[in-house]
C-alpha cells in the first residue's frame, strides 16, 4: 500500500506536518486512529517517513521510538521470556543484543522532541484512544470475536447485584462518630441522676442514626418499637413504679433536657423532677432538639409535646417512637456487629413473652456507641446533625403505627408484667467490657421497690462524680473529640462501670423483690 507513490507522498506530507510543524508525538496507534488506516499500515508509513527524512538529511532532529519484541536470553532462574520493549533509537542496538531471538522491530513513534519520559507516549495516545475506546481495535490486527459489548440492561442488572453489598457501609460510617459519642456519654453520666435512662436514650439515638442511614432498618425498627413501647408505657401509666421502667424514657428526657440546654437541666433539680413528672415532654424536647439541630421538625415536636403534657400518653407515644426507632437501630447495629439478628427477630415477634431475651453487643464499642449517641446530640459536632435530620424524618414517619401498640402495651403493663430493656455491663473473659441488653419482665407491684432502688442508686452516682468535674470532663471531651479516642474510651469505661453498678443494684433489687 505504501508503495503506491501518490498515497505515499500524501501520507508523507501529513506526517511532516504532524511531526515537524506541529511538533507532535506521532505514534503508530495515534496515526492509525487519526487517518483511519490499519495499524500495520501506520507503522509502515512511519518507517517510510523516517527513512525519507534521513535520506533528505532532515532526520537528525527526529527521535524514533521502537517497539521491540523478542525472547530475552535467560536471566538466572528465568528461562527465555518473551518481552516487548519500547526503546529509544540510541538504545535500540543494545536492546537487540539483550534478546536471544528478536521477533519483530517496529517503529512505535516519531517525534522531534527528545523524550525525557516515555510516559509521554501514553499521554500522546490518550485522547485519541479515549475517543475510540469502544472500537479501539477496529484498525488492529488483534481481534476477539467473543468479546461483546454489554447492553445497558445487562449493565443495570450487574449494578443491582453489586448494590446488595452496599448496606454494611452505613454501619462503618456510624462507627466514625463513636469517639465523639463516647465523650458525650461521659459527660452525661456524671451530671444526670439517671444513668440507666441515659443509656436507653443513647441507644435510641443510636438506633435513630442507623434508621437514618438504613431505610431497610425501618422494618426491624417496627419490631423494636413493640419492645420499647412496654417500658415507656409502664413509665407513663404509673408514676413511682414506672420510674424504674421509665428510667429509659425518663432518663432520655432528662438527658435530652440536659443535652440541649446542657447546664439548666443539670443544675436545677426542679427541672429534672418536672421532667420525671412529664417525662415525655422534657425527653422529647431534649432528644428532638438534639436531633433537630438541623431539622425543623424537632421544634415542632417539642411544642406538640408541651401542649400534650396532660395527655401524656400521646406524648409518650411520640417519644417512644423515636426511642423505639433508636432501639431498633441499636438492635440493627447490634445485629450487624454481632450476630443477634435472629434473637431480635424473635423478640420482635414475641414482645409480650415472659422469656428474658438477651441482646448482646459484640464488644465494648457497641455499648459505647449507644451511650455516645445521646452525647452526640449534646455535642455540636457537625456530622451528627445531618444524621439527626434523617432520624427525625424516620421518627415522624414511625409514630402513627407505634402509638396504638404502645397503648396496648401500657394497658398490659398495668395489668401484669412489663418487659423492660436493661443494659448490663460487665467485663468478659477477654477483658472487654460488654454491655448486654436484656429484656426482663417486671411486675407492676415491684415498680415501687424499683423506684426506691433508683433513689438509692442515683445518690451514689452523684457522690461518685461531682457535677463540676463532669462539666470539666465534658469540656475536655469536646476539645478532644477530634483526635483522641483513647481518652474517650477511658471515659466510656468509667461510665460503663458506673452504669454497671447502678444497673446491677437495680437488677438485684428486682430479683430480691420477686
Amino acid at each position: 500500500m505504501v508503495s503506491d507513490t501518490s498515497i505515499d507522498s500524501m501520507y508523507l506530507e501529513n506526517l511532516d506536518e504532524f511531526i515537524n510543524d506541529e511538533g507532535r508525538i506521532v505514534t503508530y496507534k495515534w496515526l492509525s486512529l487519526t487517518l483511519g488506516v490499519h495499524t500495520n499500515v501506520a507503522k509502515q508509513m512511519l518507517y517510510h517517513f523516517v527513512s525519507s527524512q534521513h535520506d533528505s538529511d532532515k532526520g537528525d532532529n527526529l527521535n524514533v521510538t521502537y517497539i521491540v519484541s523478542g525472547v530475552v536470553a535467560r536471566e538466572g532462574d528465568h528461562p527465555g521470556v518473551h518481552k516487548i520493549w519500547l526503546v529509544k533509537e540510541d538504545s535500540l542496538a543494545a536492546a537487540k543484543t539483550k534478546m536471544k531471538d528478536v521477533i519483530s522491530v517496529h517503529i512505535y513513534s516519531v517525534q522531534k522532541t527528545k523524550l525525557q519520559d516515555m510516559n509521554v507516549l501514553y499521554s500522546a495516545n490518550y485522547d485519541k484512544v479515549k475517543e475510540n475506546i469502544m472500537s479501539i481495535n477496529k484498525y488492529s490486527g488483534i481481534e476477539c470475536p467473543d468479546a461483546k459489548v454489554r447492553s445497558t440492561a445487562a449493565l443495570a442488572k450487574i449494578r443491582q447485584e453489586n448494590a446488595y453489598q452496599a448496606p454494611p457501609e452505613p454501619v462503618k460510617k456510624e462507627s466514625k462518630y463513636k469517639p465523639s459519642q463516647i465523650k458525650n456519654d461521659i459527660k452525661k453520666e456524671p451530671g444526670s441522676e439517671n444513668d440507666d435512662k441515659q443509656t436507653n436514650g443513647k441507644s435510641n439515638q443510636i438506633a435513630s442514626m442507623f434508621a437514618r442511614q438504613n431505610k431497610k432498618v425501618e422494618v426491624k425498627k417496627e419490631g423494636a418499637k413493640h419492645k420499647k413501647t412496654p417500658s415507656s408505657a409502664g413509665s407513663k401509666t404509673k408514676g413511682g413504679i414506672s420510674a424504674f421502667f421509665n428510667k429509659g424514657p425518663v432518663v432520655k428526657k432528662s438527658d435530652a433536657a440536659e443535652s440541649v440546654p446542657l447546664s439548666p437541666s443539670k443544675t436545677s433539680p426542679s427541672k429534672s423532677e418536672s421532667s420525671k413528672c412529664s417525662p415525655i415532654k422534657s425527653g422529647s424536647g431534649a432528644s428532638s432538639p438534639v436531633k433537630a439541630d438541623s431539622i425543623v421538625s424537632s421544634s415542632s415536636e417539642t411544642e406538640l409535646q408541651e401542649s400534650v403534657k396532660e395527655s401524656q400518653v400521646e406524648s409518650v407515644d411520640t417519644d417512644s417512637s423515636p426511642k423505639r426507632a433508636k432501639k431498633q437501630s441499636k438492635i440493627k447495629a447490634q445485629q450487624q456487629r454481632g450476630k443477634n439478628k435472629r434473637k431480635k427477630g424473635k423478640c420482635d415477634e414475641a414482645p409480650k413473652m415472659k422469656r428474658t431475651r438477651i441482646m448482646q453487643l459484640s464488644d465494648s464499642e457497641s455499648s459505647s456507641e449507644e451511650e455516645v449517641e445521646e452525647e452526640l446530640f449534646l455535642s455540636p459536632s457537625p456530622p451528627p446533625p445531618e444524621v439527626h435530620g434523617v432520624e427525625s424524618d424516620s421518627d415522624e414517619i414511625i409514630p402513627p403505627t407505634p402509638q396504638p401498640k404502645s397503648q396496648d402495651l401500657l394497658n398490659k403493663g398495668g395489668q401484669g408484667r412489663r418487659r423492660k430493656l436493661v443494659d448490663k455491663t460487665f467485663e468478659d473473659e477477654d477483658g472487654y467490657i460488654v454491655t448486654k441488653k436484656e429484656y426482663e419482665f417486671v411486675e407492676d407491684s415491684g415498680d415501687e421497690d424499683v423506684a426506691e432502688m433508683k433513689m438509692d442508686t442515683s445518690p451514689k452516682f452523684e457522690t461518685e462524680i461531682s457535677p463540676g468535674s463532669t462539666k470539666t470532663s465534658n469540656l475536655h471531651q469536646s476539645k478532644t473529640k477530634t483526635s483522641p479516642q483513647k481518652k474517650s474510651t477511658k471515659a466510656t469505661k468509667k461510665s460503663q462501670v458506673a452504669d454497671h453498678k447502678k444497673k446491677q443494684s437495680n437488677i438485684t433489687n428486682f430479683f430480691s423483690k420477686k
Partner: protein, 207 residues
Amino acid sequence: MDFSVSSDIVVELLEVAINLILYTREIYPQSVFQRRKKYSIPVQMCIHPGLRSYIGECVSSIRPVLEKGEVEKVVVAVLSTEGVPVEKFVFEIVQKPTKPHEIKKDPQLLRMEEALRAFCLKLSISDSLLQPLPPGCSFAVHIHVPEHVPAVMSSGNQYQDFPWVEAEKEQTEVHDPHIVPLKTLRTELCRMQLYVEESSKKQSSSE
C-alpha cells in the same frame, strides 16, 4: 465575582506545569521526580521535600490572588547561573467569574481536562521547540498583578508566611527574546495562553 472554580483549576495546573517544566527542561535531575497521575495521564512530580514545598507554597500563595481574578500572568523564569533569565514560561491567565452551576457546556469538565492534558503534553515536548539550556540553571516564579495588589499582599496576614517580593528587573527581562507559542486554552472558566520567551543568546550568557 467568584473566581474560585477557575482558580482551583489554574492552581492545579500551575503546580503540574511547574513540575513539568522543571523536569522537561532538566533544571533538576530526573532522579528527584516521580511519576504521578494527573488529568488521567502520567506527569512528573518532584519528590524532593524542599522543592516540593517551595512549589506548593508558591501556587498556594497565588491562590488568594487568583480568587480575586487579579492575576494577569504567572511566569516561570529559568535563570542562568548569572541570575539572568534565559527562558520564561509565561502563563497568561484571563479568568471568568463562573459559578459551578453555570457551567453548562462542560458540566463534568471533561473538555477542560482534555485541554489541560493537551497543555501538559505540549509542555512535555516543549524541549523540541527550544534551544537546550546552559548547565546550572535555576528557576523563579513571578506573578504579574495590577498595581494595587502588591500593597494588599504586603499587608494581608495570609501572605506573611510566604511573602511575595517585587521582582528585580534583571530577573524579569529576557535579553533579546523571541516568543515560542506553546498552547492556548479557551474554556468557559478561563482562557490561558502559554508561551515561552526565549533568549537568543542562551549559550553565550553562560559562557
